[in-house]
């Protein structure tokens, strides 16, 4: 783990997408006037014929991608998460998910860590909306290595995928040779004092919390859930059986996201108390990404505090 070197998953996405463009002529990229910041611009410069800017029209963006997919291309579509999923929800539902078209929606600027733009641009409901759609696979990656893997791996899935990406730079967690698998969580440690299940940008926080707690003689395990749907039930049930406390954390509303997904698994498979950390059903606010993580209590320190102060389990 390299805590000092940071890279935003949107950057990893843009670079990996351009690599993927070299590997396959089938890759088409569409954006809605945000290519500079979603980083699809990297692809656009290398493959101008396979890049379409649809302008500020996200509903159209999604449906155009659906049409392109019917010609056996694999469209990757990007915008900010709030517009890609919220503005165009019905288009995703009826033009992509229902007909099960091979469109990859790769949305950046998810969560409050989108920062200064404030609540209108901080998407905290996207996991919830996307995972409730039949036929949809949902990914939320935590670092550069994992994102690069995901960008290429989702091309192999024949169907709709939502990939959740972030604006804020985050530490590199994984070595280049780490093996990932869609639908399989990644576990750090075998600790039995507790489990922190995390996704996206806060996985690094969970790992920092693991280190801090270790210094106090508390050994927890951390599970990185990069695939929200289909979720890795086995790793969650195993953790519930083997460890004392279960904490989930996400840069997303605590309603409908990772925490809810974990509760859904455990409620039927192994009922157990789950402490859900995240954005507590409130809109975000302007500020720096790092400041907002503190403000909304989704940092390593917050995890440690919640772990130590919660006596429910």
């Amino acid at each position: 783990m390299n805590w000092d070197k940071k890279i935003a998953t949107r950057q990893s996405y843009g670079e990996a997408l351009a690599e993927l463009g070299k590997e396959s002529e089938k890759i088409i990229v569409l954006d809605a006037d945000l290519s500079k910041t979603t980083k699809t611009e990297i692809f656009a410069k290398q493959f101008p014929d396979r890049f379409f800017d649809i302008g500020i029209a996200e509903q159209n963006l999604i449906s155009v991608a659906a049409g392109i997919a019917t010609f056996n291309f694999i469209p990757y579509v990007s915008s900010f998460a709030v517009f890609a999923t919220g503005r165009a929800y019905d288009q995703i539902r009826n033009s992509i998910a229902y007909p099960k078209l091979n469109v990859k929606i790769c949305a950046t600027h998810s969560g409050v860590t989108a920062g200064e733009d404030g609540a209108t641009h901080q998407m905290i409901e996207d996991i919830s909306m996307m995972r409730t759609l039949p036929n949809m696979t949902v990914l939320s990656t935590s670092d550069d290595t994992q994102t690069r893997w995901a960008v290429k791996e989702i091309a192999k899935i024949n169907g709709p995928v939502y990939l959740r990406l972030c604006r804020l730079a985050s530490p590199i967690i994984y070595n280049d040779d780490t093996k990932f698998e869609i639908g399989k969580g990644h576990q750090f440690g075998e600790g039995t004092d507790g489990t922190v299940i995390a996704t996206g940008i806060v996985v690094a926080e969970a790992l920092k919390a693991q280190e801090k707690l270790k210094k106090q003689g508390i050994d927890i395990r951390v599970i990185d859930i990069h695939t929200i749907k289909p979720i890795d039930k086995d790793i969650i049930i195993k953790a519930a059986k083997e460890t004392k406390k279960i904490i989930t954390i996400e840069d997303h509303n605590i309603i409908g996201g990772l925490g809810s997904s974990v509760c859904e698994v455990l409620s039927t498979e192994y009922p157990k108390n789950v402490i859900r950390m995240g954005i507590n059903d409130t809109f975000g606010t302007s500020g720096k990404g790092e400041e907002l993580m503190k403000f909304f209590h989704i940092t390593a320190e917050d995890i440690v505090n919640v772990y130590l102060n919660n006596t429910q389990n």
Binding site: G67, I68, F71, D90
Partner: protein, 271 residues
């Protein structure tokens, strides 16, 4: 197998009208008025114009049709059955549990359906995507998209219209089924989309108008539309909602309701 004989195409259209009434009557639900208004448009496209092969419904070089006003599905289903995409007996299953003929077209279930539709305003964007993809593959597919005139109230239609002319999609032909009625009444009273022609013109379209029930004129206009280059075409087809069934004609209330026993017999006798 292109049908050029006008009478034959008229006979096909009559069959479609009967099928629409039968389907909606048996299902006890559906949209007869909207289906009856686009019969000739579909008949001419599928039997005279489009490069398609029912034996190879996924053929890459085929022309595509998106019925963006997906509630007119009974018309499309009758056409597809007559073309041989699936057995005609299946029309009786329309809207029934377990059927392939869903209330609105489903491309996963039914061969011949090029795109699922039902949520209005999305079909034209999908058509733009198909037209872009076809150009990218250097193929010759023509992409047809039928939209309702009430559907033009959806903002996404105009996002798509911008895209069509921005990318010079001359392989795209939009047909507006201009029957002047929507569920709540006359289009100009509910939310006026007029002037439809000037709107499309200002968005960069070649705008054509035709009597949407005149087969000969429809063939001519589709042939003419194929010659247009460097810009998309829209054909504003003047139609009558409920066309062919006297008591349904120009009546908004027949947008989405099934005939009772007596109305059914009356309608079939007229056809």
């Amino acid at each position: 197998m292109k049908i050029t004989n006008i009478e034959e195409l008229e006979e096909i259209s009559r069959n479609v009208r009967r099928d629409i009434i039968e389907q909606v009557y048996k299902a006890k639900s559906g949209h007869p008025g909207s289906s009856l208004s686009c019969v000739e448009i579909l008949a001419v496209l599928y039997f005279n114009q489009m490069n398609i092969n029912p034996k190879e419904p996924k053929m890459e070089e085929r022309d595509r049709l998106i019925l963006s006003k997906g509630h007119a599905s009974p018309a499309l289903y009758s056409i597809l059955a007559q073309k041989g995409y699936f057995p005609k007996e299946e029309l009786k299953d329309f809207r029934k549990l377990g059927c392939r003929l869903q209330g609105h077209p489903d491309l996963k279930k039914l061969p011949g359906v090029d795109m699922s539709s039902g949520s209005l305003g999305q079909g034209l964007s999908v058509a733009c995507g198909m037209a872009l993809a076809s150009k990218l593959k250097k193929q010759k597919n023509k992409i047809y998209c039928i939209v309702g005139d009430g559907e033009l109230e959806e903002g996404q239609i105009w996002e798509a219209a911008m895209t069509a002319s921005h990318y010079k999609l001359d392989n795209l032909c939009v047909i507006v089924d201009n029957n002047n009625l929507q569920i709540d009444g006359k289009i100009e009273n509910v939310m006026n989309p007029k002037p439809i022609d000037k709107k499309f013109e200002s968005f960069g379209f070649e705008v054509l108008e035709v009597d949407g029930h005149n087969i000969e004129k429809l063939i001519k206009i589709f042939e003419y539309a194929k010659q247009i280059q460097e810009k998309p075409t829209v054909i504003i087809a003047k139609t009558i909602k409920g066309k062919g069934v006297s008591f349904m004609e120009n009546k908004a209330e027949w947008h989405g309701k099934a005939p009772n026993d007596e109305e059914y017999k009356n309608a079939i006798n007229q056809l």
